[in-house]
Amino acid sequence: MNKPRSKIIITSLTVIIAMSALYVAFPETINAQLEGNIFATHSGGVITTSGVVIDPVYTTTTDPEYTEATVEFDPMQYLREFNYGVVSTLPDGKILREFTIIAEDDQIMEVSPGIFFNVWTFNGTVPGPTIRATEGDIVRINFINNGAKSHTMHFHGIHPAEMDGVFEIVGGGGGQFTYEFEAGPVGVHPYHCHVMPLEEHIVRGLYGVFIVDPKEGRPAADEMVMVLNGLDMDFDGENNFYAANTIPFYYQNNPIQINTDELVRIYVVNMVEFDPINNLHLHGNLYYYYPTGTDLVPSFYTDMITLSQTERGIMEFQYEFPGKYLFHAHKVEFSEKGWVGIFQVNDNPQDKKSTEKVDYGS
């Protein structure tokens, strides 16, 4: 009869099952090796791999393989970008600065290479735009909520109660509100959404920086904004990433270029949630620190400040020696999760001092 045939079928079936079982059991030995890719570790080692390197080196151009991201954010551009609004003069002689801020809550941001997160945004980025005015200017913000949820804008500072952005909830789908107040006091302040659940509306990205300059101005400097923030990717009430200006490790992989003997002024705002404190340590230097920036005389000369939620201030320093200097959270867990950067201090081209003998005075 057809016994031999059935034997053959059974045998070949057994072989197929055995082969597939082996593949399930030891798949990596079956994969062929490809040619090498090289990357450096944090401790300087060099590794060759036949596969793909997964290192959080963020690039502003989105990987064409994953096109989900709708947010375009360049931390280097954000760093020195100040928005002064549409300027006009009011009948009483005051300066009016008008801004349009649009809130959205459906944006997808590639927060670290290959990792996507649904951020809530003011004008399409996290943090939102840095709003800058001079003390006494009238700030008018045409706020449009294009999100699905309700949002508001709540500014830290001095203003009437109805401009506080807490009880005047602006509905989603195009709701509007106009915030108008006189800029003050002098300093650096945060603004953020103030709709409940508040923690969620903040950590999702609805915050930004509001700078009020003194009428007499501050000395010329290379000015920057650093929002210290975190991202809770898995919604477990703990941050998975920390950063200065959202993108982990960005200023480490793309050092901030500054010059020797040039005053650097940083407006620092701590927006980290969940963790009670954050801090900022500068290498190879100390800085003058103006808490909240409300006073024109510095309170500290230090290389370490501790910041609680929405605590902020102005740092001023200049470097004498060129080279690479780290700045990071000295709560090093935060720095190992992205809150770390480098100042690349270059010889000042307008500076004769760097080539002359340094006079240390008497």
Binding site: V24, L34, G114
Partner: protein, 403 residues
Amino acid sequence: MEVSDRKQSKGKLIASGIIPFVFLIVLVIYIFGPGSDVLDLGVPLPEITMEKIDFVDSEIQVTVRNTGPIPVVIAMADINDRIQPAAVEPDGFLERYETALVRIPFAWNEAEPYRIGLTIEDGTRFEKEVEAAAPALQPTLELVGFFALIGTYVGIIPVMIGLLWLPFIRRISKQKYHFFLALTAGLLLFLGIDSIEEALDVSEENLAGSFNGVLLVTTVIVLSFLGLYYTGEKLVKRAVASTASSRLSKPVAIALMISIGIGLHNFGEGLAIGAAVGLGSIAFSTFLIVGFALHNTTEGIAIAGPMSRGKGAMTGKSMILKLAALGLIAGSPAIFGAWIGGFVYSPFTSVIFLAVGAGAIFQVIITILRWIREEGDKNLSSGSVVSGFAAGMLIMYLTSILV
């Protein structure tokens, strides 16, 4: 006429067998195709499983499998919740059930605990904890020999020692003989349950939920049992049919089946020992080896049991050779198991072989009980059998507390 009639009815038979399949296929196609929107409730959550973590020179290597319902992209690695640059081979995109090797350069310290984390494209982080880092074993000649030695200690020698009871068993009375056989069955039942427990533990700890650990173990046990049972029956029947001429008499056929079953079980034990050495718990595995050696002596008795009732021809040189061969069949798989467990450990294979071993053990128990029944006037409820069985279970339980 008759032929075409038969053909027609045969066609009808085939059609009636196939039609339900056709409907089933149509249903599946509909659900995946046009009907998918209707049933597309809920959000499919991604899942990955870190199946193996190896500590090699200044590097931690993770074998990761996509065990969720949707494809994932491995985007980031961390050690102890601190982000590390890493490489993923061949690449980070994983279809369902696909695996990749994540290589994380890291100066790890031996015997320290580590939590290994992998983050996928939507930011979900998966973590696996290793209690004590230990270097991955490399298959050097020395280690191959070491495992062979362990396998010999655990598998071959104890089984051979157990076989030495043969002359003793041969002389004792039928009641005492049945007591010993039942004792062996009791011991083996304990071992079988022990294997199941271990298979379930390994699947619980290392296999993703999508493998249905409990059902996987159950299915493999039943298949292993049925396969061996069927083969055993055939073998014994053939032995009976050709008693006079064949070298294979019925007692030898039964002893052979018991040896094969025990061999499969010892393969699983070897795997466990190799894995224990591979995971760096050498001290623990010394205990393990002594324990296994004690257990496995009883396995020799199980083989010696049926052999002791062989016919007159089974004496002298051929008898010794047969016993040695049976001892090797039962004992030597421990060596192969130790090699695999030590060098290419994978939790999936461990679960499979532990379950195969358990099924084999149950087959051996059934074979022994039938042998007792045939020998003992179709009776399994004699005092010697019941007390033997109970004593076997008790001995194993008490030694398990000590080991």
